[in-house]
Point group: C2
Chain length 712, copies 2
């Protein structure tokens, strides 16, 4: 094991490192496996040694420079075998390992690669047939870049409201793409701004004046040799964003733009030459079409899926929609961990105030500082453990489905993955947003320096809250799914799901009737079974309360849409939040149960308990009283005292906990957070090296002239 991981350089962080209750290397191996640590080390070295990564990721550069660098890094990523899908598939834990490495580097470049290459390709692969094979080959061979165009200027979350049309022209045997106005322009597509030559474009299909709903087309946009757009295509860059400026998000407006009939991605629906519309419902890719082979449409225009049960096909399709969300939860964690690494290490080095005569103490010693950082560190651990597991499960599921080896319960699993990922992505986004902001503030003045790195982390993370489903809209998918369980709960039917996220609902009524807050001491409150018991009651209560709220609104005359919409705050949203927090805790407990080292079990248990109690205090305290789980004054105080105690107990472990999950210094790229703790040395170097440091500004005479004028 000593060969696997290098020791950190001695320095001011040693005080805490020596006082940790566990061996950080053992914990890392336990959580990540030796294989993954080797993979990480190799991945880090590949990036560290690549010339196109030496320019780093600095948003101080001009927009154009950021774009140019991201393009080069995107091409470099494409060339790196270690990050290829084939390499990741060999051990599915590598999926999260690769995401963590690449998104710690230059998130903009990584998204450029993921969208322009992977997402375009997989959209063609999933929706197209053999006639679209060439696009996949061309991307694979690096001949073209693609983009994925769904969102319109006027419509994001509401895909059905899209207004771009694709009208079939029977004479020309072509589709005519048209955007009625700028609101109907496609937008936000990554790579579309400057790079994409083709795009998958969703448009409302129209044949002979009749509408057939949203369908996808492969659309040539720019001449691959000149990068100039084709006539009828107005394609451009959306301009600067708050972050992720390496990626060129673009818009495209179509002006009666004609594309061949064959460009319809026709796996589930096709239009015959003479303008007949053929629909094949949902699909599943057969075994022989794995990876870059896609299904064909038979000559008579029919498609027969090997999976007969439409329900099963629907579940599988739903599951595959989750790819983006599963990945984003991991991106959130990656950025949150970067911020926490910086803030915790800086808090261990920075000394300020202290009891009389005993010198200044590190700010990590202060209760209020512990409470700002350590619960988020616990959240990051719970989230990270969840992401590693969930990504593995998800990719396994996808591979089985794509290879025709779908497990018997694939439909239920697809639905469950959809339900879980629709809450885990928002939860990850919200938790890490707060972790990043709290880290920024906890680093006080120096945290406001660009060289600290926290601003870029915040700006990059921000997009996670919006893309692939705005969080507040997305999380309704989870509560809608959970609400469907209520009748079964009421009838005391056994409930079980492939990932076991809802199995406890089988005892829902019993939980509601009998479970109560009964702890009399901090020791009892801290126990994981007590945390889980509380969560299960909260979920059952919110499920019932949300169901009743919706019902009562319908009875009072509201339509179903409004009744549901008016039951979000304090009800449906809280339900989905509690559900996913509980599931993440459940997964953490499963991991802890595999530990055979008491010191590791001990620290992981504390993290798990802290996250659970802190989240109960923050999100669900009112619920405990509303549903009668808690009565009397003691519950909040016991919970708060438990949180304070756990933070105090974890304080000496915080630096080592960060060491386990931190990326190497060259990726962290922060003057405050480096692993040697040499904060002040690095601050000095960083300031003295910046070009503005001691040179007068080029326009210094303006300053002097102004003052001279006033002197005369």
């Amino acid at each position: 094991m000593s060969n696997l991981l290098e020791n950190f350089k001695p320095g001011p962080l040693d005080i805490y490192r020596k006082n940790a209750s566990f061996d950080w290397k053992k914990l890392k191996v336990f959580l990540e496996t030796e294989d993954i640590i080797k993979y990480q080390t190799e991945g880090y070295e590949v990036l560290r040694n690549h010339p196109d990564f030496s320019e780093g990721n600095s948003s101080s550069k001009s927009l154009d420079d950021q774009r140019r660098i991201a393009f080069k890094q995107c091409m470099a990523q494409k060339s790196m075998d270690i990050f290829s899908i084939n390499y990741q598939i060999m051990d599915l834990k590598r999926t999260t390992a690769a995401t963590r490495i690449l998104f710690s580097s230059n998130a903009g470049a990584t998204i450029k690669f993921t969208v322009g290459d992977t997402l375009f390709k997989s959209s063609v692969m999933n929706m197209g047939t053999a006639r679209h094979q060439k696009y996949i080959d061309d991307v694979d061979e690096g001949k073209i870049f693609g983009a994925y165009c769904l969102t319109e200027i006027g419509h994001g979350s509401n895909a059905r409201g899209m207004r771009t049309t694709a009208t079939y022209d029977k004479q020309k045997k072509k589709f005519v793409l048209h955007s009625p106005d700028f609101e109907a322009a496609k937008c936000w597509a990554g790579g579309l701004g400057q790079t994409a030559m083709f795009a998958t474009v969703y448009a409302q299909l129209v044949i002979e004046g009749e509408k057939y709903g949203l369908h996808a087309f492969v659309v040539p946009l720019r001449n691959p040799n000149t990068l100039l757009p084709y006539p009828g295509v107005i394609v451009g860059d959306m301009g600067e964003k708050l972050g992720l400026n390496g990626i060129d998000n673009g818009f495209v407006q179509f002006n009666h733009y004609e594309i061949p009939r064959e460009n319809l991605l026709n796996k589930v629906a096709d239009v015959t030459e003479d303008g007949r519309f053929l629909q094949f419902n949902h699909y599943e890719i057969p075994r022989e079409n794995l990876l870059n082979k896609v299904a064909d449409v038979t000559e008579d225009g029919r498609y027969v899926s090997p999976i007969k049960d439409p329900n099963k096909r629907h579940g599988a399709a739903l599951g595959s929609l989750s790819a983006g969300r599963v990945n984003i939860a991991c991106i959130c964690e990656t950025l949150g961990v970067k911020a926490l690494t910086i803030a915790v290490r800086y808090a261990a080095v920075r000394r300020q105030f202290g009891p009389d005569g005993r010198g200044e103490v590190p700010i990590l010693e202060y209760q209020s500082h512990q409470l700002r950082l350590i619960p988020y560190l616990a959240a990051a651990y719970v989230l990270r453990n969840f992401n590693t597991w969930f990504s593995e499960v998800f990719h396994q599921f996808t591979i089985e489905t794509l290879t025709g080896n779908a497990r018997p319960d694939a439909p239920e699993m697809g639905i469950e993955i959809h339900g879980v990922s629709s809450a885990s992505k928002p939860m990850a986004g919200w938790l890490m947003k707060e972790a990043i902001q709290e880290s920024r503030e906890a680093c006080a003045g120096h945290g406001y320096l660009k060289a600290a790195g926290l601003g870029d982390i915040r700006n990059e993370h921000d997009a996670n809250l919006t893309y692939e489903g705005e969080n507040h809209v997305l999380i309704q998918q989870t509560s809608n799914w959970l609400l469907k369980m209520w009748p079964a709960v009421l009838q005391r039917k056994p409930i079980s799901s492939p990932l076991k996220s809802i199995d406890f609902l089988s005892n829902g009524l019993e939980i509601l009737e009998k479970s109560r807050f009964s702890a009399k001491s901090v020791e009892e409150v801290i126990r994981l079974d007590s945390v889980i018991k509380t969560y299960q009651w909260v979920i059952c209560h919110l499920l019932r309360a949300t169901h009743n709220k919706v019902e009562s609104q319908i009875k009072s005359g509201k339509d179903a849409f409004t009744a549901k919409s008016d039951s979000q705050v304090y009800y449906a949203k809280s339900l989905a939040i509690a559900f996913v927090q509980h599931f993440m805790l459940q997964r953490m407990i499963a991991t802890i149960s595999e530990s055979t080292d008491a010191s590791l079990t001990n620290v992981l248990t504390k993290l798990c308990s802290l996250f659970g109690l802190w989240a109960i205090e923050k999100y669900h305290l009112a619920t405990l009283y509303q549903g009668g789980f808690a009565t009397g004054p003691t519950a909040p105080t016991l919970i708060q005292d438990s949180i304070l105690r756990l933070c105090a107990e974890l304080k000496n472990d915080a630096v080592s906990l960060v060491d386990v999950i931190a990326v190497p210094d060259f990726l962290l790229n922060s003057v405050l957070g480096a692993s040697d703790g040499m904060v002040y040395k690095r601050l000095q170097d960083s300031m003295l090296q910046n070009q503005y440091c001691i040179n007068r500004p080029p326009w210094w005479r303006d300053i002097v002239k102004t003052t001279l004028q006033n002197k005369l």
Copy 2:
């Protein structure tokens, strides 16, 4: 009145504007007065017509361009009479009006002016004597720029820990300034990076090896004709920050740098030529020294203050320390209001989803969207009302004190202003931070565009959380002050303060004994007296609980420092938060009581109640149960139902409420938030106008070459 304010252009916001329950112009006149509206209009015109403001404030520009523009705007501000202190003093409501205008424009330029001009000057004025008059004159005449150097690289909040020394050299009759290492370098001083020729520098005074504590000196740094630093001075720029990049924050390290003895700002302490230290304790500026005249030290080195009572001098001094904090609370509000203006107007225009057959509805119609924005709009109103009042009170107090007309209760008032501002600045910072972030997210994808303006607002606001006292450290001043009241509460002594923020504590024991949550309906909960009753109980309970917590920790053997430090979370911090929220509500109620128009009373009452209930739900619900104010399950539900109802009722007023407090479009500078609601038109214009839009990047051949290479 119709001459005072122009109507908004017709557009998509009309639907809401027509449905508002009140006349926005009447509300604006009621809250701001006709005089202030005229002042605002004049101020806006001055900025709009000034050529140096036409370049706007875009962080897309290079750091150097941002600096150059801010310098020009800073000089322009200096030349604008309307924003001068003399002009503001004529009507003290202008202090907040001017802050709101200038910080809506270019915050970096405004800070550059405030720090390089006002802060440097007032530090000399407050701590110097007649021999320093020339510095004030030189600044006034635009001959020099100054800076204010307190913070060191290694020490921020803990001023006593500063390590720069000023050692008196009796032979040379000079002070030798020295920074032992880079940690002792002064830093973060605005204008120090590139512009300042002089600075007020705090250093540990040393005479003959003996230490005399922190004292301030005027220190020449750069040759005013060449801007080159003097030998012995290493002065430089700290580099790029997360925001506010117009202002050049700098650092300075001294290498045995000699300055004349006379440069000690010697109002409260002096060093004689032969190295004797003379101390005069705290001070108050006598009438004849108002503005640019400062007190002298008599020939025999003695200083006799006209205010004999040292307690009174201390109170006055404390009060004047609050200037920065009072102003920052208003900056926070200004930036928060900008963000909310954008998010509310966009939410009223953007349509998404809807009940079947009834078209899409504006997202402002959704409960969950209302809950994201309207409580923060209520918070902004309560905060704005408080800031206007508090700034007027504070400046009146300062003028009275400086002119020797201090009111009899000036010491108590100085202490109260300190206690209030130490919590109102953090509260304003935290509330508006969340308002800005929620606005960013509520604008979803397009909110991530730089042209939406929300990124710059967030990055500029961020510094408010840290400077002039890191929020978590600063707010302890408030709880420390409140805790001193507990013995009087226990003895049922009458408690009263000049601003009446703590008068209700006179009934503290009675409140604790008798006050309980007794409301049975939403109507009862919503009443302002019920909100106030709840808050007063919360404060009394937290005062007692925090006192007991500190005492019990001391009894258990902790020293006073640790006992206090370990009583922050859930106790002292919550106490200070509840206190300042209650005081802000109290001030809002005072304003409402002056309204004679039922429609204005009605909407302001709803805003006040919503802010109070929402803050109780968010911050204090656990406390209600812990102290037995609430028992049983109904309190949280009634409070939550009240919040939902108030948000729903205020939904149609939201756009008009924003119209009352919004800055003109040229200052708002957002494609999503303009007052005409033409969101999509502006999005289109903004995208098509950006230079990257439809042009290929200069390096387009790299993209094509890469793909061509792969084609061969």
